[in-house]
Symmetry: C2
Subunit: 337 residues, 2 copies
């Protein structure tokens, strides 16, 4: 099963883990200075090495992909919105496998961005796979690095390890009990960044947040991973305490999650934003064992296939916003049945 | 089946029909001047004649009835709130049958108030039964009347025919399309009264209205009935036109009624007011064939057993407001299953 539909460790709170390594190839100018020939050479080189890299990876040029497929990958946070922008899409590519747990972006901001995804909290396995692929690629491509700084990257903020490790967390109880801003503040004070996945900061829709490391220089990969793991576990504990507190008002909590379930499963049209909000309550209800009509897989399917582009992939039709709102309500009913 | 659970003619719009005849007995002072002995004599007399009147009627003193039973009858509009007030309950009684389509109030405002109830629009049969009982009672009791005025009543507003005919109507589409105030105005200009059943006037909760005659003097029973029937049919037509208009925005309408259905059937606690509001949408959805999970009987059962006293009768337990809100949500689920 694809990682984004699967449940992992601690997945009542931790939705997914992701690792990104930024790398650049010796002898090729950095992104800003690439000529058209350089770009073509880079893409051709990556296409050429794909089969020998293994992992079931396939090479695709962004410009060869249809719009819905590209947007569907952006919605899953597998590729960045930046790589499909007008500026980039002519000169970029990806190496991706069917499981979609590995996606190497080529010529996004750096020559190479190795990305590994996993369900739940799984930083160790995720970084291990990233490092394994990094090593193989380094043998094939020879990455730029300096003794003093470590890996060199297009943007100074990534220099050093080139590592961005992150977890996506669902914090509905901290939001409901009003403790979210305190938690956001603490996480930031530990040199980590926490921000809403949909919308900004504490205004995040759907109570989904991403915690990631700030620092990439003057710190080892191990330290980054350990720090992130520790702070993530602290946040997870706080969320669980907040959930226990909500459970003291059992009826109020049940009423809240079941009303959202009632609307989500009976509405005849649903906007994307409303789905995200309702689904946050429904996920909480399912994770706490209150809502018995659903399981993790169904919640994840609803979450995925109600996103605009994935909805259209699911349906196999190009739909306008109004048509999508109607189809979204139908899909929820189909998945629940 | 009890009339209040049954469906009658035009019952997509017309919920029920009711007739009330106000009568007073010769040789007994009017309500305001009754001595304790007079009261006892009146109640004893009515108790005495009950068996020979027939119709399966039973005589009950209000003071002998438990609170929940009294309030349950008030909620069904079978007895007035006035008859169970502290001032009245010691000196009043009712004759009622198991079907509860006949309820004669004794010593409420007048000595006798004959009331007949029916499902849907059924003024002719209802007035016929009222007149039949009226005649029988007149033979037994001899009602006060004057050649000049007709029947004499405690309040001058009822002098003449002593007849109040009314229909209860559900007007959600006129409310939604904003045409309700126009309709209220027209009905009133035809010498009829239209008012909300719950709450006042156009602020009526649940879109339930009662249309009744104003005039009882200088007009025949037949004229009252015909006028009411005509104006009711006009209102009904207007409501149906408004529903047709709503149906043009099919998706919007479906979405509205199904969202209410989703909340009503999934909430874990429901206030009485919220139930009334949600049920108005759900009734509209059922009447228009949009909501297929429900039928008329289930809608009427939910409507009845979510009212505070009837809820407690259904449950067989005295419950406080918070307990009722939880039980109300359970009852909805039980009825729908």
């Amino acid at each position: 099963m694809n990682w984004y539909l699967d449940s992992g460790k601690e997945s009542d709170v931790i939705v997914s883990t992701r690792i990104r390594l930024a790398r650049n190839i010796k002898g090729i100018p950095f992104k800003q200075k690439l000529s058209e020939t350089d770009i073509n050479n880079l893409l051709e080189k990556m296409k050429y090495i794909t089969p020998s890299l293994g992992y079931g990876l396939k090479f695709l040029k962004i410009k060869d992909m249809d719009d819905i497929t590209k947007l569907a990958l952006v919605e899953k946070h597998i590729i960045s919105p930046d790589i499909i922008s007008d500026r980039n899409e002519e000169e970029s590519g990806i190496l991706i496998n069917d499981e979609e747990n590995i996606c190497i972006m080529v010529n996004e901001e750096d020559h190479i961005r190795i990305q590994i995804f996993n369900s739940g909290l799984d930083l160790q396995n995720t970084i291990n796979l990233a490092k394994e692929i990094d090593k193989k690629l380094d043998n094939m491509l020879h990455f730029c690095s300096s003794k003093e700084y470590g890996y060199l990257t297009a943007c100074p903020s990534n220099v050093g390890t080139g590592l961005r490790a992150s977890v996506m967390v669902h914090l509905p109880a901290l939001k409901l009990t009003g403790n979210i801003s305190k938690v956001l503040h603490i996480v930031n004070s530990f040199g980590m960044t926490i921000r809403g996945i949909y919308g900004e900061d504490s205004q995040s829709k759907g109570d989904m947040f991403q915690i990631s490391n700030n620092q990439t220089l003057g710190i080892t990969e191990e330290e980054i991973i350990n720090n992130l793991e520790n702070i993530t576990k602290k946040v997870m504990e706080q969320e669980r305490v907040a959930r226990k507190n909500l459970e003291k008002n059992e009826i109020e909590l049940q009423d809240r999650v079941y009303r959202s379930y009632g609307i989500l499963t009976n509405a005849v049209k649903l906007s994307s934003d409303e789905s995200i909000e309702l689904l946050s309550d429904v996920k909480l209800g399912t994770d706490l064992g209150i809502i018995k009509q659903l399981d993790d897989l169904k919640v994840k399917k609803i979450e995925l296939y109600t996103k605009p582009a994935n909805l259209q992939k699911y349906t196999g039709k190009i739909l306008n916003a109004y048509e999508r709102d109607i189809k979204r309500a139908e899909i929820v009913k189909q998945i629940i049945k």
